[in-house]
């Protein structure tokens, strides 16, 4: 009975268990305010995780995402301070942030496809490069005194739902459609499943790889801009260790690190599982050291559950 439930729902079931548990343990958990709050908190890393899913499906990895969050946030807030009309400055800001994400993805794609260097190392190097750049650009101090309107991006609400939550849902919907219903999506799976087979089938595997890293870089930049807006400042040390959280969410969501297998819906569930865990532990007043231990254990358990299903 349990095993058949497991087979059908796997990680979703783990999430439900978690929700029920926190619902029982904390009276604050199921308040509308808290649920919106959780969705807002999850949105930042989940948006990155959507891009990371594509990267991991091709059998790659992107460790640079957290640093892109910082560097894109810093760049766009700096652009925002250019002395032009707010609309123009905002355009600059978005362009600057997204461009950084695209450039980072492009550089990663270049080294990975052209020079055949393993994604782990390429993106590890980019991670330190962008982090260093964020600090060099700001001399370690946050960029602040931003126009108030900028805060709307990350802090605004539409029908009571936070803007980042809405953006997250859109991103996941689009990525899901791409993966399931387009050639590009199919090629992502093919490249991850067997790159040589994909190449011989006439697929431009290099282009596919380029594209997924650019998508990952740009979605990280989107997160970086939203985060900067939520903090109303550009923080050079934003997004520290996001890469690990994001990868954990993707893998907990059932995507295989060897590529070729997984779904972005799984990633959404994985992101929620981890985000809810953090929120619930905070609500329950669990100390931060013990939280670390619990989060580690739950990640293991969740993946275990998923494995027992197969």
């Amino acid at each position: 009975m349990i095993s058949s439930l497991l087979k059908r729902f796997g990680i979703g079931l783990a999430l439900i268990l978690e929700l029920v548990l926190f619902g029982i343990l904390s009276p604050y958990f199921f308040t509308p305010d808290n649920l919106l709050n959780v969705s807002l908190q999850i949105s930042i890393t989940a948006i990155i995780a959507a891009g990371m899913t594509l990267v991991i499906l091709t059998g790659g990895i992107d460790l640079s995402v957290g640093s892109i969050v910082a560097c894109a946030g810093v760049l766009s807030t700096m652009a925002l301070k250019v002395d032009v009309s707010f609309a123009l400055a905002l355009t600059f800001a978005l362009a600057a942030g997204l461009l950084l994400g695209a450039v980072s993805g492009g550089v990663a794609g270049l080294f990975i496809t052209r020079f055949n260097i393993t994604p782990f190392i390429v993106t590890l190097a980019l991670m330190t490069v962008w982090r260093g750049s964020a600090f060099v650009l700001t001399e370690g101090r946050p960029v602040w005194e931003l126009p108030d309107a900028f805060a709307l991006l990350g802090g605004g609400r539409i029908l009571g739902i936070p803007a980042p939550t809405i953006i997250m849902v859109l991103v996941f919907a689009v990525v899901h459609v791409i993966l399931t219903y387009t050639r590009f999506g199919r090629y992502v799976y093919a490249v991850g499943g067997n790159a040589e087979a994909a190449r011989l089938a006439g697929i431009n595997t290099k282009r596919v790889l380029f594209q997924v890293y650019i998508v990952s870089g740009m979605l990280s930049a989107v997160s970086g801009i939203l985060l900067a807006s939520r903090m109303n400042s550009g923080q050079p040390n934003a997004g520290l260790m996001y890469e690990l959280d994001v990868i954990a969410a993707v893998v907990v969501g059932g995507t295989s690190l060897t590529g070729g297998r997984g779904t972005v819906i799984g990633t959404l569930i994985g992101s929620i599982l981890i985000g809810v865990l953090r929120n619930g532990l905070n609500l329950l007043n669990v100390g931060s050291y013990v939280q670390q231990i619990i989060v580690g254990a739950v990640i293991l358990l969740a993946v275990l559950l998923d494995r027992l299903r197969a």
């Binding site: 904390s26 604050y28 308040t31 305010d33 808290n34 709050n37 807002l40 908190q41 930042i44 600090f135 370690g140 101090r141 946050p142 602040w144 005194e145 805060a151 990350g154 802090g155 985060l227 939520r230 903090m231 109303n232 400042s233 923080q235 050079p236 040390n237 934003a238 997004g239 520290l240 260790m241 953090r278 929120n279 905070n282 609500l283 007043n285 100390g287 931060s288 050291y289």
Partner: protein, 289 residues
């Protein structure tokens, strides 16, 4: 606001900057000790230098409808939106150690990092008789540290005979500080003094100085944690430490909150004493506040 609630106990949410440093452990202890006296429940979290995380924590507190929030901001400006959310929910916010520059904060309880850095600079200048070279074991990714270094450099600048020859990142932890200090000892054979932006940095520098048998170097640290105080007492190269009184900051913060709950008005800024200790003062076994 909600502070007039008649509940016998109050719940207070705390978002520390980190729990990786003794300073905040002490601050936390002060909070806990004083909260226990007042029968307040504390929910203590730590942002670990991640502003996004800190804002999440504050939001969690708001969702839980705590009675007051204490924040040690990761960033003075960046924490603003979080504080504003608490303001909107009518929850009073207090900051400890690091000030917030946005949102409404009832009271800020802290010692001044720039002043502390100045104290360290002046101590070193005096010890070197206004002449020599110094290095900084820095962690230039934290605002409060940038302030300390700023104060330190300001003080040193008054002595044209003293130059800062190296400024390396020890990441505020002892192992990395040890490595960074080892390197600068090599490139500066005649180095006279080192300023460590916290005690882990100063102790890492002390490890390096001892392992390379370098004499005549004056190290000054920050916070006077027990291991550092011990090293100073023993007459090692670690000569002095700027002291903040983190426990006192914690205690004072809870006292301010209690005052607020009691309907009294609280001052916007509550300064907590900063000082500098060396072997002489420590051996007098000056009781720590």
């Amino acid at each position: 606001g909600r502070s007039s609630s008649q509940k016998p106990t109050k719940t207070i949410g705390v978002s520390l900057l980190t729990r990786g440093h003794i300073f905040y452990r002490d601050l936390e202890e002060g909070l806990k000790a004083e909260a226990a006296k007042n029968h307040y429940e504390l929910i203590i979290t730590a942002a670990e230098f991640d502003l996004g995380k800190q804002i999440s924590q504050i939001e969690d507190f708001v969702a839980r409808k705590v009675d007051a929030i204490i924040v040690c901001p990761v960033d003075s400006k960046g924490v603003g939106p979080g504080i504003k959310e608490a303001n909107d929910a009518g929850i009073p916010v207090f900051t400890a150690d690091i000030a917030a520059q946005e949102g409404t904060v009832l009271s800020h309880i802290a010692s001044d990092n720039v002043a502390g850095g100045r104290l360290a600079g002046e101590y070193i200048a005096k010890a070197l008789n206004g002449k020599g070279t110094v290095a900084i074991i820095n962690q230039p990714v934290i605002t409060s540290v940038l302030d300390r270094v700023q104060g330190f450099r300001e003080a040193i600048a008054k002595y044209p005979g003293i130059t800062v020859v190296a400024d390396v990142n020890g990441q505020g932890v002892r192992d990395k500080a040890l490595e960074a200090s080892s390197d600068i000892l090599q490139s500066n054979p005649k180095l006279n003094a080192i300023f460590g932006i916290n005690d882990d940095s100063a102790l890492g520098a002390l490890d390096a100085v001892q392992q390379f048998n370098r004499s005549g170097i004056v190290i000054v640290g920050y916070d006077a944690t027990p291991p550092a105080a011990d090293a100073i007492r023993k007459g090692t190269a670690l000569k002095a430490d700027v002291v903040q009184y983190p426990k006192q900051i914690g205690v004072t913060t809870i006292r301010m909150i209690a005052k607020h709950f009691a309907g009294e008005t609280v001052p916007a800024v509550v300064p907590v004493e900063v000082g500098i200790v060396d072997q002489a003062t420590l051996l007098k076994d000056q009781p720590r506040p």
